[in-house]
Symmetry: D2
Subunit: 385 residues, 4 copies
């Protein structure tokens, strides 16, 4: 009898190996990996110490030992592959974005509901333990009502016109880039923390470099090589942008995203003001949560299971002062995902980000793009539940 | 012969005594102070060690020993008093806002130009030495082109519905409050640092408390007393807001202001991304300037005249590591203001904030208010030069 | 043929499972685990998803599939078990301290040298990538000569007289506690970073609580339970202490250790001043290295393989801004350890901490204890090479 | 009638003008200043806007309008000048060190007691409001018993062998330099905060540069000029050092001082662990006090009179979030000093640092020097009360 769940990983770029390692840590057996060619599959399997490099996506679906499939492929494959997984009876953990448009993502939501399978989207940042802690505190009387939610997600890896990655091309990554790639992480996170939904947006986006130099060969995310031959390509996706937000209660806020801020490597910050206290967090110091007070000194909570809410303590593995980081978020996300699978719990309310969360982000992106093009406020379409 | 310049201060609230002390430090003789009643004038003169408590504003204007008048009165008196000073041949340093609307402030700009007198607005934050340093660096090739300018100015002293101050009432402080009181400091600062002007705004403002409890007696800024009798008053001014910004080049940005963020006592932050490097500063740690780099470690410049640009070194008085703070900004502002006076330099380009800067902020406020009401982008009217 | 190395883990406390997970991440197959009883072995194997719970230490040694043994047992077992592993032809990775005294540890060093096997001590903190980076930078001309080395390692988990753990009892943990448990991590680290050795010490130690309440049952590290029955026990091990240091060149320094500093969960800090620049690091923000300069702004290097020395980039797995933490240090330590094993490199100079490093720490502890008792400077005995 | 107290300042180096400005802010009239020559006196008076440049020290003493004299001369003049002031019936505020040795300082203590005059030493760092706050909190039950006191005072202005100042020469500055110049500030501060006294010391000092290049002309503190002609001089004073400390209760601690730590401009840090909570402060961020807790999140108190103890609120002038800095400490010190004078309170217990505090620091320095020379623990001689 197979008691340990088994997963296959599709995709061998930056994030595929992150899934592989986190699955091992979460106690999930990884059956193998699929790359963009059989040779790449075999090479990845070997370097990651996995038993099998798959020949094709169909081979993954046909592998009866596979309980769940992790999709870490380029964005444009997500819809088709996720649908195929569900239709093949495989649980699926899909990297964001869930699909290329909301028609696709809505279809996936319905497919997932009918499937009786687990269907998650890898919004891993929720799984920094102190983000769970913030969510627990945002629901307390001490926090009070939410007043405003502001912050940013900024990086610098696309600062120069010579920086290039498939994501900058609308056809490959989607019409939105910075908002879709990193802004949606922020939007998912603050909605997770507060329990509120964004209802209207007013966006203004910037394409800092209308032309970038594309290397002849391939490139990986977060890497720069200077010696390759290049040719200019026109860029229509945004490098940066600012967005005003109205939430489902009376809360208001704003988000700034940028992939062109020198010195900020990968920096997500939020500041959520409640009527009783504030909560602020910075992904570059993820083991600290700032709790702002008016009438007494503000607090800094160091990630310490002994001092955290039960829901947050549950997604941390190490004692106070023993820093956890980016790879740990995937471990905790997958522990949560597979705990539901092992419990045969496929209900509509899960502790991991579900397809409906991925769909919501795509609706948000579409509203943001429309808002930018119209230079006006746009309501986010509500998902017909 | 009286070589040392002499100043009178009008206003005895929080900021009047700040001016008095800074004038002494700047080597300016303070002739006396005027309060809202002769008795208050005398009491203030005594507690501040000044030779004279003026009986009336006219008495100030009539005092021939007075070279310059500092206006720290409630906002609604600024226009009339500033005009009277200029007409009486007195230099004037006016607290912000310069006036209650742009018709008034435009009139003051013209009056100042014709007067051949020094006419400044007390945007003191520019005079944190590292803000001058940021301005110097923003003009270098290393910084490059400005890409985006984001930040916030947040406080918590009006968090609770029982917090009250004359500024919350539109009739006394103006229709805008948080934006006008603190947002304009941020807007002035980033325009000073970058040399750019805001051209269009899209604002969304929040009145968190539509009703506040007004104490029967008077209250001072930044103070809370809980035991006074109160009665409810309706509030129309904003407690918080978010604003999208378009600058005079292609730069974009956003500003968040709030007087209802628990734990942020008086926190102005900016992050300015250039094509070569970034600059970030936080008024709660004013002696550090962050300089962000893509291809080498980012830097933190501790305020140290030995390491700063000449223009910044000129507005600092103490060696590296010897912190300067809020009161020092007024000292440096006044040193700069009176250096121009002593040099008989009343030309159109000064190192201190001039009436035109104050006017620009009022135009900005009017555009922001209109934008909020229309929930749309609004262009800032250009000053007809 | 089994190309992937195989390891067994001995010990099921806090740190045993840390080894198990890090071994999986490092691509090492974990054959099984041994606890203090067969039942505990089976339970740990099950919860960690390992194929086997060993019945006895002899069974581990007899398992021919085991290439290496990880010892995470209480300190008093290390000597005997490490020796047994080497005599059985198993590579060994031993938790610190290597032994209970320097006679034992010296014997182990010789045994390891004769064995032709890999023999490491788990000084994991070296494997924070920025500690490797500091080591690389400390060897540059820009850093210059080392002048002084200061810092601390402070925690709060033994602050109260009701806090208890087997380590507080000299018979179980050794005569030294705070110095041995955490001080040796700091001492190993700064010697690794600078390449210098401590030659003389002058120590003053404190036993804050001469009596502690011992629970009747067992306790785990970093956990507090308040409801168990307790009885008082006398404590002779130190809760805190300060130590003056003389290094093998002219460098001087000091170290403060404490397990009784409220609010410091697990905080190791060093500040190393060179004649050209300084290096400072804080384990609570392990992804930042401060580089101090005299004549230009100081720098903060965010852990980013693109900006780090090759030796440091080699022990990091994620791009800049994607935080790594405590568990990643074990992964990198084990990657380094098993890379040597796979390369059949068992020479005297390894990139992982060797038995001689463990021995050196024990000599240091003995000198520190003697210095404290004599209240005088004591030379650290040199290892006869 | 002259109700406002009047002070003369002796010394025109870095710190003399600091006193002048702070006296003005404290509402004290400055009668004039004395430099090392009549010409320097006049120049300083002019640049500082003071009515008078004194011709000689005797002229200062003879000036009947002078109530108090501030001594900011080189160390070797302090004893003689302070004694002369007291004998002339002038209150005296002396820069540290109070004298060149403990025989002198003890004589001054007795002279001060007999004089019925105010006699203070300018340990200004106590007057950072959050240092007063720490002192208030260290006396609470929440803090509990003091366990250990550690920290450092580090600078970089004497890092290079070409850095020179009169203080490096034993004849001018005293046999101890870094310890005397900055270490005594730290020692005074932690004794003020905790109410404890250092009883025994074990010191190890370093002269990093045994030879320095002395410019032919004069130099000022904290300044570097590279183009002057120089000649080598031998240096016997210490650039750095570490000291173990035993306090009057059971507390232990350590201090590190350095004037050769690149990047630390003027950085005093302490960490004081109590049995209930900890207190930590860094002079480079003086408006924040860290309060460490074991069983709840640690706190950061932003300097805010509304949240501080009465004794601390009394020495702050600005609301929360409006940073105060180095110059403000002198203002608060002098406000405190002159408040006692105005109240004719010359009793043995004052809120400002008294001559006995200055004497205690000299005893400490003598013990530290002896300890270093003997490489052994030395008891601090007790003042015969």
């Amino acid at each position: 009898m197979n008691t340990q769940p088994c997963a296959a990983v599709v995709g061998t770029g930056f994030i595929g190996p992150v899934h592989v390692e986190a699955l091992k840590r979460a106690g999930v057996q990884v059956t193998g990996i699929l790359g963009s060619s059989p040779a790449k599959s075999v090479a990845a399997a070997q370097s990651l110490g996995l038993p099998r490099g798959y020949q094709s996506f169909d081979e993954v679906l046909a592998d009866e030992t596979v309980d769940a499939v992790h999709l870490t492929t380029p964005n444009r494959f997500h819809f088709e592959q996720a649908a195929a997984c569900l239709r093949s009876g495989k649980h699926v953990m899909c990297e964001k974005p869930l699909a290329m448009n909301s028609a696709q993502s809505q279809e996936l939501v319905q497919l997932a509901r009918q499937s009786g399978l687990a269907a998650g989207v890898a919004y891993n940042i929720r799984f920094y333990p102190l983000c769970h802690e913030a969510a627990a505190r945002a629901r307390t009387a001490d926090f009070g009502d939410c007043l405003h939610i502001t912050g940013s997600y900024v990086q610098d890896w696309l600062l120069k016109p010579t920086d290039y990655n498939w994501r900058v091309i609308a056809e490959d990554g989607g019409e939105l880039r910075a908002v879709a790639d990193i802004g949606t992480h922020w939007l998912d996170l603050v909605q997770f923390v507060t329990g509120l939904h964004v209802q209207s947006v007013c966006a203004d986006l910037q394409t800092v470099h209308a032309t970038r130099q594309r290397p002849t060969g391939e490139t990986r995310s977060f890497s720069h090589s200077n010696d390759a031959a290049t040719h200019p390509v026109s860029i229509t996706t945004e490098d940066a942008g600012c967005i005003l937000l109205k939430f489902s209660d009376l809360s208001r806020g704003s988000l700034h995203v940028s992939q062109t801020t020198a010195g900020r490597k990968n920096c997500l910050r939020f500041e959520i003001a409640g009527s009783g206290q504030s909560l602020a967090w910075d992904s570059q110091q993820p083991n600290s949560l700032w709790i702002g007070h008016r009438d007494r000194p503000s607090e800094t909570l160091i990630r310490d299971p002994a001092l955290m809410s039960p829901s947050a303590a549950q997604v941390t593995s190490y004692p106070g002062g023993h820093n956890e980081g980016f790879p740990d978020t995937f471990k905790q996300l997958f522990r949560t995902f597979y705990a539901s699978i092992e419990a045969h719990d496929f209900g509509p309310s899960q502790k991991y980000p579900m397809f409906i969360d991925g769909h919501r982000e795509i609706l948000l992106c579409e509203a943001i793009l429309q808002s930018h093009r119209q230079q006006a406020w746009v309501d986010v379409d509500r998902f017909e539940d």
